[in-house]
Symmetry: C2
Subunit: 364 residues, 2 copies
């Protein structure tokens, strides 16, 4: 990385994020969840889901639109199924809802070995990887998926976008074995629509399988893009469909009108979340080769995978772990000059003092 970064202490960052959300009428719990989550994302180098992006999302789809209701109270539906909970989030802030749902799924997993929380009428939770990573750091196997804001992706062989970029996120408790949790976390499109716009600004060509034109033909020309493609042809398409069918089972409505509040026709416009947690002891046959413990076995298996001369390979979660090490080393969150400027706009909007760039530690 040759870019210049400025180090913002976590407390300084969180103080501004809390103020920004409070100015939008979110309650104290929601403000704390928003600050904690964006600090966690930035700590792990997730620049696409920092506080700036979270606030932009709230501008476009959230409390300034009809997608998110500050102070909303989650309703828990009665169910006879002991390891399952079904929530109506009533459009509560996604970060607060997701933290609560993952905590509940952990409680269920502690008792039943596996637990699930289905959440209808949700707002966005930003970066699914963050929730499963934290659960994995606590020692659990965790999974989440959600339906993305807009239908921007064509089904395989299709022309018209009817699917979200629908991400999946899995976390595994491997910190003791290898120093960080394995986190597998990505959208089911090859790229996000934001990348297409970036490529267009930069005059660059897209990867060959990332997008289609209005006729459903693959295009690498950002100016001709009508919709995105799923990764891995029918395989990524299948993974994207999973989020839509899970959402349909829970309570989600037609993907093509999601987040499009103008088109009121009796359909729902809210995304849906799904969370699942497994306790590692509830999977262990406890008969590991050579008398290894479960942790030692995980370590041996992962060393086998990236051994044998596979020196260029990284394990999923390694990049985020490297970013976290860098944040720890500098004792703060690393932001670019442009990001600092964006935070200072946020500060001006909510009546806070801007950050004095000259007083922030600089790292290359």
């Amino acid at each position: 990385m040759s870019e210049t970064f400025y180090v913002v202490p976590v407390e300084q960052h969180n103080s501004l994020v809390v103020a920004a959300y409070a100015a939008r009428q979110f309650n104290a719990e929601e403000c704390q969840a928003a600050a904690k989550f964006s600090a966690y994302a930035s700590w792990h180098g997730i620049r696409t889901h920092n506080a700036i992006k979270a606030l932009h999302l709230d501008d476009h789809f959230g409390s300034k639109s009809q997608g998110c209701v500050p102070g909303a109270v989650i309703e828990k539906r009665e169910t006879a199924f002991a390891a399952s909970q079904i929530w109506n989030a009533n459009k509560k802030l996604g970060q607060a809802t997701a933290y609560a749902a993952m905590d509940e799924a952990i409680t269920l997993a502690d008792r039943y070995g596996i637990g699930q929380v289905s959440v209808d009428n949700a707002f966005h939770y930003l970066w699914g990887g963050g929730y499963v990573m934290e659960a994995a750091q606590k020692g659990y196997i965790a999974y989440t998926n959600c339906t993305a804001a807009l239908a921007e992706v064509v089904p395989f062989m299709g022309k018209f976008p009817t699917l979200g970029t629908n991400p999946h996120s899995w976390g595994f408790p491997t910190t003791e074995a290898i120093g960080f949790p394995l986190v597998i976390d990505w959208a089911t499109s090859v790229v996000a629509m934001g990348r297409v716009q970036q490529f267009q600004r930069e005059g660059a060509q897209l990867p060959p399988d990332a997008a289609v034109d209005a006729d459903g033909k693959m295009t690498t020309d950002p100016s001709k893009v009508a919709a995105l493609s799923t990764f891995g042809k029918h395989k990524g398409y299948g993974l994207s469909i999973i989020n839509e069918i899970v959402a349909a089972l829970i309570g989600g409505s037609l993907p093509t009108i999601r987040s499009r509040w103008g088109q009121a026709n009796g359909e729902k416009h809210t995304p849906v979340f799904y969370f699942q947690v497994i306790h590692p002891d509830a999977m262990s046959g406890n008969r590991f080769a050579k008398g290894r413990t479960q942790t030692e076995n995980i370590k041996a298996v992962l060393e086998d995978i990236v051994g044998h001369g596979n020196d260029d390979c990284m394990l999923p979660g390694q990049v985020e772990a490297n970013s976290a090490a860098r944040s720890r080393q500098h004792d703060g969150l690393l932001f670019s000059a442009a990001e600092i400027a964006a935070f200072n706009e946020v500060a001006a909007q909510c009546g806070q003092e801007p950050w004095d760039q000259t007083k922030l530690k600089v790292v290359q």
Copy 2:
């Protein structure tokens, strides 16, 4: 399809398969499971996992090797986690083990909303899609993964194969909504090693991202293939790692020595299975738009996805459903002349009468 097929009644097929497995000392329950499963695969047009392939697998890795033990008894480990079971399959036939595990997961889901069965010391179960499809036809959401026989796939950016083709299979209860269960089921490699050999025989080139040579460079030349690649770059790699880490949590050993019984060094050589079932009522928020039922909502969402001019799109599971319709129409299993010949070799080996090809109904 312009190929000629011969229609074999299910009873005639099953009678031969039962005899073939009985000749290998499998017990009655195992023989029935093997026959039922291969009939189900052939009924749905799954030619890569018919009875011929199942018996070849048993030849190479199973009861004729050290991988599978006819008549083995499954041990169930005591666990305090009510929605979870942990089994030691003791190398029992994969199809019998998988049917029993899926049944158990269904029982757990009926009670807890979600249930899981982890299976250590397994033999292969052939086609994961078959188990989740049947569970979906019974009205459940079902998932399974397993570690594939051999490490034939390189990790992303790697040179040396340390991962299996590690499949994932999901089934969803959509029969009432759209006439068949959605089944998402594929290996995490772009192609199987058998396809590489087929391309080599036919003098054809591989897809550009399917395999690597001995230096880890992508190659389309089947004769230069040293190992397979995961689909979708790091995304398919992440999905393949999931099977290995789930296996490592349960009791699986190093992937590179899996099924390689000659390399006895205190490591285990067996694959691992994981099964999970969810009851659809345990996810339903019961607040579907326009007063729809859950089934009506699923139908509306799926129609939205393949609507809007997306006429060339198929839903995952449609191909298998079309094959099943064809089998139903002809009232039997469709096999090619080469497949009939292979079945007749099996018949000769286990002392059964060969099938008289001239008496079988022919379809084009």
